[in-house]
Symmetry: C2
Subunit: 409 residues, 2 copies
């Protein structure tokens, strides 16, 4: 007998019929002898409906009250699923975030889980109940409702699995796994059977649609095997697990593409010690996440510093950059909102040389200009013009034989 | 400076425009120098929408889970109202039942309030916040969500007003007060300016549409003045307050009509001691509220016992009655589902003789047959055929000069 945590996303509980299908799957899982904890999201469309109500009032609602509002979506789902399981003759009990001590900090709208009190869940499991937990929500030290950000139910599920030392955390979604790249960009994309946590984190821009990054961190830190699979079929999906020796045989696991990048260059910066800090401290202070950074070779005591930010932070980053230019008497800023970041990811890069060179070759052959390069132990990212992004993904996907016509595992 | 508790019903917060009007009224109240606690119901239609979702699954959902489900309606309202007040430049903070320690028993769906922890509310009031509380909901000793039954937000409001020793509890609704009788039955019905708690309790069937009975009990027990008024206009509504000497000058305060009554007669019951207990104990055990009871004069050692129940309990009551007939070898049961109960209420009855006689005369003159009679110190109830009910109300309303053309106060 094992302990299984299952998470069902919004489309999986999108209407009463689908909730019934989830309930049946829950009871089947229990019948196999497993203890079962189920985490559910809001019914598809419900969170947007609630955001729409607030949007009729103001564009800048207070985050604390927004969390009170949007957390109702999951509350509706857990009760409906419990009622359905009970109607099918099973035993079930729903719990809100605060009812199972899902403690978070108080960053409303994007709170981070601090601890989980597993007592109530264990007691209910001992009573033979299917334990149904509202995803996405928690409670801060003062008893205020918090939410974990879009996709937060994944993190709820993995955190619960970690606290309960579950054997597996199954993430049920409307796709059947994680792919080598976005199938809508590259028709040849292939489902990945097994992927290391580290790779999954680097593939965030692929995975974010399926798995919240924070949930992968939880899985990695607590060694929870995550199984991403379809709620509409039975076959296995993709496993996100600790790195295995065999994984190193594959040089590249997948190709990610971030289309929402923007690039800022600060020109004519005096090339003296401490200058990087002067640029990036104010940006960090404003909560802006700077991604790729490059600094040109100095010429005549001045240099150019270029960095990328997410496009939604662009306006603020530009304003701050302008202030920096004035403070340090630099020449000015150049902004390019039409860039994208294409990344190759694979733990095999550690032991295989030449991955970067092969990637650059492939892009050059396709006449794609690389604007910036950034590398880590298991990742190579290239910033390219937005118009080149899809082509870059396809070229790299083919160059490293990731397609379904080229089995790599 | 005083402390005011205001309660807004579902139609008052039915859409974003109406929520804005409530927010403006809240800020205006605060501007007058009052501390303000606001209790809100679910947006009109929302509770029914949620019940409809559960209804698609089963007709007999577990009450605990239903409370998890329906309590989301108020949660949406409080956050939207808080966001609106904030958007208008005010300070506001929303609280769920459990966040202000609204402790109840665990009778899901019809829980009773046991205690309120006023600490958080007082702290927020000291910070100058409009305190917004979710009506209708509480939490039991184990942290489960409970709800207080239809109209429960009234009770939330009055209970909070009692705990906070508020100067007044204002119930905002879509009518402008409590009337001498249902205006849809009797066009001449007149708004009551002041009514005693005891009278309001007896007029439950009138007031239930406006004020939950339990809220009146709270008001009476803790001496909270309740002001029932329209959220769409400024003028005063009806005050529910402790009995005043001047109130006794009025013989009849209002005429109530309960159209949902049903009548059961158990025929040929052996007229021996303990027989009433044998009939009514099983009915009480099944949770059936028996209202009017009469026992005929005994003839030949047997008698008839007749009683009324609410029509929704009819089927169960009939089944139990049949069992009673068999147990005590009575003759059988006669059932009449087409009855109504018309009641005259007024604390003035205590000091004015002849009210009953005058009522019977008036009904007789209108050829209305009285099937059963029940009286208390301040009430006279007559069970009549359902078809006669409206006419009975009109006749009595006129006989006691309650109409707007006959000022009685």
């Amino acid at each position: 007998m094992s302990l299984v945590v299952q998470k069902y996303g919004g489309t999986s509980v999108g209407d009463i019929e689908r909730i019934r299908a989830v309930a049946e799957r829950c009871l089947a899982t229990q019948k196999k002898g497993h203890d079962l904890v189920v985490v559910v999201s809001a019914m598809a469309g419900e969170t947007n409906r609630l955001l729409g109500l607030a949007g009729q009032i103001t564009d800048t609602p207070e985050p604390r009250e927004m969390d009170v509002l949007v957390s109702t979506g999951e509350q509706v789902s857990i009760s409906l699923l419990a009622i359905t399981i009970q109607a099918l003759g099973g035993k079930a009990r729903s719990f809100l975030g605060d009812q199972i001590g899902m403690r978070t900090d108080n960053l409303y709208g994007k709170a981070r889980i601090l601890s989980v009190d597993d007592n109530k869940v264990r007691t209910a499991l001992e009573d033979g109940e299917v334990v149904i937990v509202a995803g996405f929500q928690g409670v801060d030290a003062e008893g205020n409702i918090t939410t974990l950000g879009r996709g937060g139910s994944d993190t709820t599920a993995v955190a619960l699995a970690a606290a309960l030392k579950a054997d597996v955390c199954e993430i049920y979604t409307d796709v059947d796994g994680i792919y080598t790249t976005d199938p809508s960009v590259c028709a040849d994309a292939k489902k990945i059977e097994r992927i290391a946590y580290e790779e999954m984190l680097e593939l965030a821009s692929l995975g974010a649609k399926i798995l919240q990054v924070r949930s992968v961190e939880f899985g990695m830190n607590y060694g929870v095997p995550i199984h991403v699979r379809s709620s509409f079929e039975e076959r296995e999906g993709s496993w996100v697990i600790p790195e295995e020796v065999s994984m190193e045989q594959v040089r590249v696991r997948g190709v990610a593409c971030d289309l929402k990048a923007a690039k800022i260059t600060i020109r004519g910066v005096p090339d003296i010690p401490g200058v990087a800090a002067k640029i990036f401290r104010p940006l960090a202070g404003a909560g802006i996440n700077v991604d790729v950074i490059i600094q040109n070779v100095s010429e005549g005591g001045v240099t150019d510093v270029t960095f990328t930010v997410s496009r939604e932070d662009m306006e603020l980053a530009q304003r701050i950059s302008q202030e920096i230019v004035e403070t340090m008497a630099a020449e000015g800023t150049i902004v390019d909102e039409q860039v994208a970041k294409v990344s190759l990811v694979g733990v095999g890069m550690r032991s295989h040389a030449g991955v970067a060179a092969q990637a650059f070759d492939a892009l050059a052959e396709a006449s794609i200009n690389i604007q910036m390069i950034s590398t880590s132990e298991i990742k190579i990212s290239c910033v390219v013009a937005e118009d080149d992004a899809s082509k870059a993904v396809q070229v790299l996907h083919t160059a490293f034989e990731l397609g379904s016509s080229n089995p790599t595992t």
